[in-house]
């Protein structure tokens, strides 16, 4: 078994000072949204925890999750892969190829039995013996099952692995399934979004390292720290919603003044994600911030909840949230069977969260 270094040892061995190490811990705490009083705990964790091997598998996907991951600003991904985790298998970044790469996966599974994290990006096609995705001459379906067997935990990256995403949209020709439909006996952390926000992805992993346990999850398996509230609840345009001031067409005066996009089809009111809080690409913007309605990409089945530019509630608005909730008896889209009302969706979702 290779030596396992703690974060403190890693810093020391790389010629970095204790001060650098503490600064790193402090930044990590901030990125996790922790109170300053918890800093000593972070420091202690970083001093004593070894680097955890991660096997990152790619199925039916577009690699946007990996691309998002490498956009992380805190921690930066160079630190992540050099100093924090041991990303031993990842088709996108690994140097090794072919059977040498498969050898790495088997070695980690054996030497770190029950200790490695399995991260899955993409769907698992289950139709026709899984021939719609094959790796190293085997089906991805078999590879996932084999690799999950001895994993400590499973991270389901993105909308694909969490809930389904685009391959899984109707009519789902490959029988594409999310991880939880195939792996039933493991704890699965779902990190939805198409893709998830970079700092959410690195935050989930850092949480595990720092606190030595998985983050608290909601009923649907998502970390509460990042999926606890609706985009709508923290949206800077919320005041316009409350005031009944809605954009009714792109490139109008109301658009330039940043009024609410609800009537342009914005799914912010039914979407749980950190876009309006952490924002994207180091807080540069988020979809609503750049004038486009949210398409709800972190919600289950969002591809079939369109069309995207159809408002959630096709009725006149009287101006206040209360009123909107009361009268919004309209479909969230085609797949929202039975025309879920804005009010009902809000109430149900809030209740789900409250119960956890």
């Amino acid at each position: 078994m290779p030596d396992k270094q703690t974060f403190a040892e890693v810093f020391q061995s790389r010629g970095l000072s204790r001060r650098d190490f503490l600064k790193f811990c402090s930044l990590t705490s901030v990125s996790l949204g922790l109170a300053p009083s918890l800093l000593p705990k972070v420091v202690h964790a970083m001093e004593t925890k070894p680097r955890t091997p991660v096997i990152w598998l790619h199925g039916l996907e577009c690699t946007c999750c990996t691309e998002s991951f490498i956009r992380s600003s805190h921690p930066i991904v160079g630190d992540m892969v050099m100093n924090m985790i041991s990303l031993d298998y990842d088709e996108t970044l690994s140097a090794a190829a072919g059977h040498q790469l498969e050898e790495v996966r088997r070695k980690i599974m054996k030497e770190y039995k029950g200790q490695y994290i399995l991260a899955v990006e993409g769907n698992i096609p289950t139709k026709d013996d899984g021939v719609y995705c094959m790796i190293g001459g085997d089906s991805f379906l078999n590879v996932v099952k084999e690799t999950a067997a001895d994993a400590a935990a499973v991270i389901a990256w993105g909308a694909c692995a969490s809930f389904g995403c685009v391959q899984n949209a109707k009519p789902n020709p490959t029988g594409a399934k999310p991880v939880a439909d195939v792996i039933k006996d493991k704890l699965i952390v779902k990190v939805p979004g198409c893709p998830p926000i970079a700092e959410v992805m690195t935050g989930v992993i850092t949480h595990v390292h720092t606190f030595g346990k998985l983050p608290e999850l909601d009923r649907m398996g998502r970390p509460k720290a990042f999926y606890g509230t609706r985009i709508h609840d923290k949206c800077y345009r919320r005041a316009f919603y409350d005031a009944g001031m809605f954009v009714r067409g792109f490139d109008e005066e109301s658009t330039r003044k940043g009024w609410c996009l609800y009537k342009m089809g914005c799914k912010g009111p039914t979407t749980y994600n950190s876009c309006s809080k952490i924002q994207w690409n180091k807080g540069t913007s988020f979809p609503i911030g750049s004038g486009h309605p949210c398409i709800g990409c972190s919600e289950p089945g969002f591809w079939d909840n369109g069309p995207f530019y159809t408002r959630l509630a096709d009725v006149s608005f009287l101006g206040t949230d209360t009123t909107a909730d009361k009268i919004g008896m309209v479909a969230v889209g085609a797949a929202a069977a039975g025309a879920a009302a804005h009010a009902a969706v809000t109430a149900v979702k809030k209740k789900q969260h409250d119960q956890e």
Partner: protein, 572 residues
Amino acid sequence: MAKKIVVDPIPRIEGHLRIEAKMNDANVIEEAYSTGTMWRGIEVILKGRDPRDAWAFAERICGVCTTVHALASVRCVEDALGIEIPANARIIRNLMAATQQTQDHLVHFYHLHALDWVDVVSALKADPAQASAIAQSISPWPKSSPGYFKDLQKRLVAFVESGQLGIFSNGYWGHPAYKLPPEVNLIAVAHYLEALDFQKEIVKIQTVFGGKNPHPNYLVGGMACAIDPNSDTAINIERLNMIKKIIDDTQTFIDQVYIPDLIAIAGFYKEWLYGGGLGNFMSYGDFPETNLNDFKSLLWPRGIILNKDLSTVIDVDPRDATQIKEEIGHSWYTYSQGSEKGLHPWEGETKPNYTGPKPPFEFLDTDKQYSWLKTPRWKEHPVEVGPLARVLVAYAKGDPMIKETVGAVLAKLQVGPEALFSTLGRTAARGIECKQTAGFMGHFYDQLVANVKAGDYKTFNSERWEPSSWPKECKGFGYTEAPRGSLGHWIRIKDEKIDEYQIVVPSTWNASPRDNRGNSGAYEAALKGTPMVDPSKPLEILRTVHSFDPCLACASHLYDMNGNEITRVTIV
């Protein structure tokens, strides 16, 4: 006796790719077979949906070359509906596409391709002072002191000694085909990490306009981001300043890090001129200065070059039913009229029909069907697409900027233009193109600022937004030059819904299996004749395949056009 090797999975690409190769006794590749090992069915999923939503589905074909499918998609819908987008929308889209190309090429060179030329472990033996001297001799880039390289080396030593090599586990370190001195390896590793950190800055330009990256938002008819220099929630001077800073930093990084590294590394591999391949090249062209049908206004020109003949550039018309056709003789599909004839995308169909061995398996039967990719051909010619194709078409058409940059790079390397027809030529062309495109970014920025200054804030044309304004039936074609090459989307709209949608992507051109006449695709042709130093460690295969920058999620998105049972989509 011939030997057969399999490389599967091919790492450091997008998607899932397998290469089988036959070698002779001297370990020279005689035949190669390229297999796309996944199929996602996105066009099946697109049928029956609102054409204004298509860009979002199509964009998810690829997250590495994010935006390119969204761009081709809005362009094909606008073409079908007869929508002219405002100048600002065209400029913003050009800027976003240039941003994509620049960031993608940088990531490709350092994170997907460099390890085919750079031996990370060798960097441990480097003399940091010597590395510093070399770095300072090739570039004014400030991070080049002896202390900087010494510190990095210390970190690398500790990393290797920890026994947990992570992404560097089981690489072909020490392979005799690696030729760089330890000091150049150390510089390259430093820049691997710096580029990993820097690439995330470039994409913020897309976030400003599209709200996020990967997968920024597009809009049929223009762009959703409003412009108003007197609003705190639209594109104003702070947003423009941010973009300007990123463009300046990007140009500096490319000029001072990417290009000097490319030349320094290529200088040690000048003898390794394998991987030329087909000698046929195609570019649809991109970056329109007026509109997409005004081909003279394209900053990257369009055309076809056959048999390495740079004296003639042939016109290409993707709308012409006689030019581009997709064949399936070696793909896991059937056509209703028989699999012998190719079909133009307008008439295309796809019925998946897996006839390969049941997994797990050792080898595919490459005499029969062996890939999830179809085989697109231009007038039955296999063609290569991508940076080398674009650079050669521009060069052959006499583009003065490209001629100058190509000339400068070739002169520095002391090689002639024929060296471009190689794996290394492909890699060099990507760097040349990256520099050119980063220059375009500044040009687009200036255009946008000039328009705003003149009081033009328009970003969206609402005339055809409402489906009631659409014709009952129409069809359109949209194209772009994605980082990996020519991308085309063909759409048919009927009764306000997508009736048919078809995509032919760059990696389908490059990674396609044999055609119906037995001719190899671009990867397969490029691998032929390559000598392998150690077939158990097929570094040379990775080199040539990576030089194309494979993107298999794009290539194997394939779908069904003609209403068999898997195309049923229920949309309310």
